[in-house]
């Protein structure tokens, strides 16, 4: 019976009721009303709780309960039931961070995009055009091909003026632009950008699938974000593979190197604390007193960007003491089996001194074998002659099932006892030239080296081992040669005393830590770990820094051991259910030739940053090489496009559809004929690469989709270049290209284009930088409003997103938006009756395919210079033909195509059939019944269905597929492997299962670690334990990379390269105003935004000063008369940003931190320098592309999407900082 509620006034009469007193009136009992207590009880009552997670830029997939009350998301709380880490281990929970915990605010915030928006100028033009043109494509043409009209709406970008639009109208506008571009300029002028699929892979796949179906390239992001460590492909042939965070607990010695774990990996940081409780020693290497430094037993405050010098010195100590002075058996054995140390390298002799060249291959020693240019040799102690061990790149593809790490000769089958050094059998102690890089001028070091002379193929050949070269490179004292011995105290590269001048770190500390690191590896069987982070990864020369650092874990045999090795958590890219996702994301189930463009090159040219190069690349070339082949960075990118090293979309200065028609007219019948036609056209220079003339309007990208990202202001390095050239709107660029270097391979147009893009289309739920500069903003669902999947390298399970509420207002999930768009495109294609087309598609030489054997010996042969023939897929990009019918885009988008069953699935050079799984999906997801191309295919029109398909088709989430995958690898390697997955063969993840509890993935050859029996994931453990080769030239971990371009830049081995010498201004410097200071400008992670929440959210803004800030040293500030919280200008020739100064002794002198992704729409005043609002953190930045990261067609240095390619690094920059004279909010 419901108790009648008494009125408050009546209840108030209780006031007069007698009061019971007890204990001598010490306490009393009253009859006062207690109804008010229910308010507090109701506060924590809810109607519904749903498991979901966050995906700003964070793949942490922390499990969250989302609480819904009266249809409103009211709060979120940590969910606790993670899969266990097993006995004797701390568990995953608690996971979560204060940033993520505040997300529910955002759903209903004023920043939420609730409806589709178009800029008023544009929609008026469009409506007018539709009045006068029957055909929507003609209508669109009348706008974009009319310079005045085009300018009117492009100039309005970033200046407000949005009006609400209806979904159908805006989708039709976009479709018209897309199809007009397809027909006029080519499908590869429609471009999509969305980063880090792992953080919400269905949403990523939705647009990626759409782009693939309409023939538009997808841009990579890992390299563009400068999170990709190019050293990883160089050393391991692997994109990035790292231990999950719980594996830190297995470590005995952890160095956090440029990584701020508690700040950037908050939910995982507890494992670091727990590892310490267990007894691990922790070293922090960081210029500033970072949060991670407080975990440390020793903190090395290093001069920023000099980490390579410290690592080289530590390597010097380890090599000296544990390889030369006293041979450590564990290290030597590890080096022989798992690294390229014993492999032989040829030397060239000139004027009595030697220079290291390429590896010695089977072909050189006269061994008759398939792929003899890809099988490097060792010296066998047993036979005192050459041997070709199994597991090399050549044996990966020769079909002989000998691709494994057994140290036996691949021809004779005899065991090999490889010699690590030729010392002892040498014919000579010669002098080898080692390149050395320094701001005081590069120079050549001369070092002693044991050399063996052989007569091979009638030529005197000089050889040595990689190990000998490495010792010479590091300057280790071996007691050979004439030169006087080097001690740790000599300031000779790369001793501890030498590094002290660079890094500012005492040599004694370096010796101590190097010894400890190695000794711990001896005592614990390799459990020495280095956690590396953005602090050392966002530099121009991050790859040389990384190679010097990673050599340390290789030298002590820590890689491939639980608790040991490298741990790189920059970008956190690990999409666990990889194959299923790839199938859907690249629409492999239908067409299958996705255009996967490396983002950095695309933006470098699209934003015309290439026009502003001022430092000739020849300054950076090896002092041994005569000079660099080009002066201009961009010329190398042209070379890379031409030789098939990197993808290059837009590809040709001609529409790929027209090109096909021409080829057909010229008599080409097969794709091979078309390839030959294209090659001949290129050689005759009748056809050109678009990249050779990026400022020609036929080569512009036309439509750019951005979703799940904030490109304009957060990741768009060179912000003002984006505004000026890509968008053509008001910008704050503070220099011009009048005295920049002119390229050789690119047509220079005096007038740089402005406003290349016809449409910038943004799907987002926040009105942030990109949305504000877009032409069209489509309202997207948040993470509490859609079905999706998340996974990460920080832990091994797959986590769901689930809708706690349906997408509010007019927002839709990304999947539904692209579905609606595909319908609009199909409908428009019907309306204008578009015929099916065939298109010529050029793809680069891909890693993990036979194409990685394209260009032997790492020798550069440029067909355009007549050095070789242009052969598609060999000396130039592969040429393929794809047929597209734009009327079918929608049907294909929403159905899983038949190629899943017809063609093999696979990854990383393995393939297997998933026809059975395809059949089961038909049953589980239902078949398409409508009469279309998709009839009978599994239905994936809903995001949840796509998620189910991904889980069923992937080896990490379907046990049967995992076993098939391992069997496939067994066939190549002749190893017993499938036991790694057999125990879980019966499992097939479903969305319901992972919603009930996230599930740990099944061990799969898609990755290199094992989860068997609940083991913690650590990379390369299957390589080490099961003897699966690395996907490198030698099949081993590489100390030596012998590509011609690596020699040109002196990077065949790890070395130290200083940060670029950057002057804020070359000319046209703004007048000095009061005191100014020049500081190195760094943009690390923000504590109260990124990864898991946005800067502009109110709960986060209240935590630190509520607006943009720049941290600087208190003494630097004092010299410049800047006080804490003063407004300051930071500027250089790229642009200016205005922020408040935060003064701290935590920041060393000489550098300034501006935490990245501080949104410009929050509290940014104007500056007189540009007469505009004071920029973003990216305004003073631009990227510098590095030629060695463009290499392709050569073993592990072959292209893969997000695997290799130049990084969009932005740290080698300086800014001028001064107090802002007048704070003007530009509000009048």
């Amino acid at each position: 019976m419901k108790k009648k509620k008494r009125s408050p006034l009546f209840r108030r009469l209780n006031y007069f009721s007698p009061i019971e007193h007890h204990s001598n009136k010490h306490s009393q009992t009253t009859r006062e009303d207690r109804d008010w207590e229910n308010v507090y009880r109701n506060r924590w009552q809810y109607d519904k709780v749903v498991r979901s997670t966050h995906g700003v830029n964070c793949t942490g997939s922390c499990s969250w309960n989302i609480y819904v009350k009266n249809g409103i998301v009211t709060w979120e709380g940590q969910n606790l039931n993670y899969p266990s880490t097993g006995p004797d281990m701390p568990d995953f929970e608690p996971r979560g961070c204060p940033r993520g915990a505040s997300f529910s605010w955002y759903i209903y915030s004023p920043l939420r995009v609730k409806y589709p928006y178009v800029r008023g100028v544009l929609i008026n033009l469009w409506r007018e055009a539709l009045q006068t043109h029957q055909n929507p494509l003609e209508a669109w043409k009348s706008i974009v091909e009319n310079p005045e009209k085009a300018k009117s709406y492009k100039q309005a970008r970033g200046k407000g003026g949005f009006v609400r639009a209806e979904w159908p109208e805006v989708l039709k506008l976009i479709s018209a632009s897309l199809l007009y571009t397809v027909m006029k300029y080519g499908p590869d002028r429609n471009v999509g950008f969305s980063p880090i699929p792992a953080m919400s892979m269905i949403s990523h796949a939705s647009g990626s699938r759409f782009m693939s179906l309409i023939g538009g390239p997808m841009l990579s992001f890992y390299d563009w974000y400068a999170d990709l460590p190019p050293a990883s492909p160089q050393i391991w042939g692997d994109q990035t593979d790292v231990p999950e965070s719980s594996d830190w607990y297995n470590s005995g010695y952890i160095i956090t190197w440029g990584s701020n774990v508690p700040l950037t990996r908050t939910p995982d940081a507890h494992f670091l604390a727990e590892a310490r409780y267990k007894g691990a020693k922790v070293i922090s290497i960081s210029p500033d007193f970072a949060e991670s430094s407080k975990f440390a037993d020793d903190w090395l405050s290093i001069r920023q960007g000099t980490d390579g010098a410290l690592a080289m010195a530590m390597g010097h100590v380890i090599l000296q003491e544990f390889y030369v002075n006293q041979e450590t058996e564990r290290f030597i054995e590890y080096a022989k089996q798992y690294t390229d140390f014993p492999f032989l390298v040829t030397l060239s002799k000139e004027n009595g001194v030697y220079t290291a060249g390429r590896f010695l291959h089977a072909k050189d020693i006269g061994r008759k074998t398939k792929h003899d240019q890809w099988k490097p040799a060792v010296w066998d102690e047993q036979t005192s002659s050459f041997a070709i061990p199994q597991g090399t790149m050549g044996s990966r593809w020769d079909g002989q099932q000998k691709w494994n790490l057994h140290m036996i000769d691949e021809e004779t089958g005899e065991p090999i006892e490889p010699r690590l050094s030729v010392l002892g059998i040498e014919d000579e102690i010669g002098t080898v030239r080692i390149p050395y890089f320094s701001n005081d001028g590069n120079k050549v070091l001369e070092r002693d080296l044991p050399i063996k002379k052989m007569n091979l193929n009638g030529e005197e050949t000089y050889i040595t081992t990689v190990f000998d070269l490495i010792l010479a490179n590091y300057g280790v004292n071996r007691g050979i040669g004439e030169r006087s011995a080097v001690s740790y105290d000599d300031p000779e590269p790369f001793t501890p005393a030498w590094q002290e001048q660079m890094t500012g770190i005492k040599k004694e500390a370096v010796v101590k830590i190097a010894r400890e690191f190695a000794q711990n590896a001896i005592d614990t069987d390799g459990r020495s770990m280095i956690i590396v982070g953005a602090g050392i990864n966002h530099w121009f020369n991050s790859d040389t820094i990384y190679r010097a650092v990673l050599n340390l874990v290789l030298l002590v045999g820590a890689q491939g051991v639980n608790g040991g090795g490298w741990a790189h958590y920059v970008g956190q890219e690990k999409l666990r259910p990889a194959e299923g996702w790839q199938t859907i994301a690249t629409a492999k189930d239908w067409e299958g030739v996705p255009k996967l463009q490396n983002g950095t090159s695309f933006f470098y040219f699209a934003t015309d940053q290439w026009r502003y190069e001022d430092q000739p690349i020849s300054d950076l070339a090896s002092p041994i090489a005569a000079s660099s082949r080009y002066k201009h960075h961009a010329d190398y990118n042209v070379l890379a496009a031409r030789l098939g090293w990197l993808p290059s979309y837009p590809t040709f200065n001609q529409n790929g559809i027209d090109l096909y028609k021409e080829a057909e007219k010229a008599g080409a019948a097969t794709p091979e004929d078309v390839g030959a036609y294209v090659a001949s056209q290129l050689q005759e220079k009748k056809l050109k690469f678009a990249i050779e003339d990026p400022d020609n309007e036929v080569n512009f990208p036309r439509n750019l989709f951005v979703w799940r990202a904030n490109l304009i202001s957060s990741s768009g390095k060179g912000h003002e270049y984006f505004l000026k050239h890509l968008l053509g709107t008001t910008n704050g660029l503070m220099n011009d290209d009048s005295d920049s270097i002119r390229p050789e391979e690119i047509k220079w147009r005096e007038q740089a284009p402005e406003g290349k893009l016809d449409l910038l289309i943004n799907l987002d739920f926040r009105m942030a930088g990109t949305a504000l500069y877009s032409d069209i903003v489509l309202p997207a669902a948040t993470w509490y409003e859609k079905h999706d999947l998340s996974s990460t390298d920080m832990h091994p399970f797959i986590h769901p997103f689930a809708p706690a509420i349906s997408a509010p207002w007019e927002s839709k999930s990304d999947w539904d938006i692209f579905k609606a768009l595909s319908k609009a495109v199909s409908d428009l294609a019907e309306e204008v009756d578009m015929e099916p087309v065939k298109e010529v598609v050029a793809t680069p030489l891909l890693h993990d395919t036979m194409q990685e054997l394209a260009q032997p010996f790492g020798k550069i042969n440029d067909w355009s210079k007549g050095e070789c023939e242009a052969i598609p897929g060999k000396t130039m990009p592969n040429i393929q033909v794809v047929e597209r019918d734009y009327k079918h885009i929608f049907h294909k988008m929403t159905a899983l195509g038949p190629n899943v069953a017809l063609k093999p699935s696979g990854t990383k050079g393995m393939s297997w059939s998933i026809a059975d799984e395809y059949e089961s999906l038909k049953q589980r997801l239902g078949e398409i019944t409508s009469d279309s191309v998709a009839k009978g295919c599994p239905n994936i029109s809903e995001a949840k269905q796509a998620a189910e398909a991904i889980l069923t088709l992937s080896s990490t989430s379907n046990g049967k597929v995992a076993v098939k995958a391992w069997e496939s690898l067994e066939n190549i390697t002749n190893l017993k492997l499938k036991d790694l997955a057999e125990e879980r063969e019966e499992e097939c993840f479903t969305f319901e299962q992972i919603t009930a509890q996230p599930k740990t993935v099944i061990t799969s050859p898609a990755f290199t670690g094992s989860e068997k029996g609940g083991r913690r994931y650590s990379p390369f453990t299957t390589n080490v334990e099961k003897l699966i080769p690395w996907r490198t030239l030698t099949g081993r971990q590489s100390y030596y990379v012998d590509h011609e371009l690596m020699m040109e830049f002196g990077e065949t081995m790890a070395t130290f390269k200083p940060i670029l010498q950057h002057r804020p201004f070359l000319s046209k410097r703004p007048d000095q105003e009061g005191k100014e200071i020049v500081l190195n400008y760094l943009t690390p992670h923000n504590k109260w935004s990124v990864h898991s929440m946005y800067f502009d959210s109110l709960p986060m803004l209240t935590l630190f000063r509520g607006g943009p800030t720049v941290w600087m040293n208190k003494d630097d500030a004092e010299d410049t008369d800047i006080k804490d919280n003063d407004w300051i200008e930071c500027f250089n020739r790229n642009g200016v940003v205005v922020a408040r100064a935060v003064l701290s002794h935590r920041i060393p002198k000489g550098m300034a931190f501006m935490h990245h992704a501080q949104d410009r729409h929050i509290n940014v005043p104007g500056t007189k320098l540009t007469n505009n609002r004071g920029g973003t953190h990216n305004s003073p930045t631009r990227i510098h592309v590095k030629p060695t990261q463009m290499i392709g067609g050569y073993a592990q240095l072959s292209y893969g999407f997000n695997y290799y390619g130049p990084t969009g690094n932005q740290r080698d920059l300086n800014v001028v900082i001064r107090k802002l004279k007048e704070v003007d909010w530009l509000e009048d």
Binding site: P8, L9, K25, S27, T29, T30, R31, E32, R34, D35
Partner: protein, 223 residues
């Protein structure tokens, strides 16, 4: 006729709204029944203004009780002459009034010109303060103008008028000879009383007097 409306009918309308309004508010707005302390945002001015105002006001209210509720006869029977009463009323009443006024000026200044207080003020907060200020100033002004010992004696006019109202025998004619200043003071009083239940002033009735006697440990019975 206007006298009858103003002094015969209005008082009952005012009292009805005052009492009814409080009941309504208490029944329907339990969580809004508050003094809306802004001490968190500004302390210094509040400490001075609030102390002066509240203590001054308590004395002023006491003075009103002595002057209006208690008939003149009571004083006469106690042997307190007109002159003595007058001296007492002005000697104690004026300083109290000035203290309360000063406090109120500080509080009003604080509410209008302190940035944080202004930002968090509702229109009713500002209106309440301004009305109180007017009422106080008019009261003090009336007292000042009446400082002459041969002045107007409200104990024979306003006092009886008020007591008759309470006894439901309204007599508007008692107010005829009252000077304008006093009338003005009373009319502003009407406005204040009408708005009272709908502003923060309700906190007057929630003075936690129990705190003075309650035990150290308090249990509440389950209802």
């Amino acid at each position: 006729m206007s006298g009858q409306i103003l002094w015969g009918i209005m008082p009952y309308i005012v009292l009805t709204i005052f009492i009814g309004g409080h009941i309504y508010r208490y029944q329907h707005d339990q969580f809004g029944w508050t003094a809306k302390s802004s001490e968190l945002l500004e302390k210094k001015k509040l400490a001075a203004g609030s102390t002066l105002f509240h203590w001054g006001l308590l004395c002023v209210v006491g003075g009103h009780v002595m002057g209006i509720l208690i008939p003149e006869g009571v004083y006469a029977s106690l042997g307190i002459s007109e002159h003595m009463y007058h001296k007492m009323a002005i000697g104690a009443g004026l300083p109290a009034g000035i203290a309360a006024c000063t406090g109120l000026v500080i509080l009003t200044y604080r509410r209008l010109f302190d940035k944080r207080i202004r930002k968090t003020s509702s229109p009713s907060d500002i209106l309440t303060l301004l009305l109180l200020l007017f009422m106080m100033l008019s009261g003090v002004a009336a007292t000042f103008l009446n400082i002459d010992s041969k002045g107007f004696d409200y104990r024979t006019t306003v006092g009886p008028w008020f007591r008759e109202i309470v006894l439901f025998r309204p007599d508007a004619s008692l107010m005829e000879s009252v000077p304008l200043w006093f009338k003005f003071h009373i009319v502003i009083g009407y406005v204040v009383f009408i708005l009272w239940p709908f502003t923060r002033l309700v906190h007057v009735f929630s003075l936690p007097l129990k705190y003075l006697t309650r035990s150290y440990v308090v249990y509440r019975k389950r209802s």
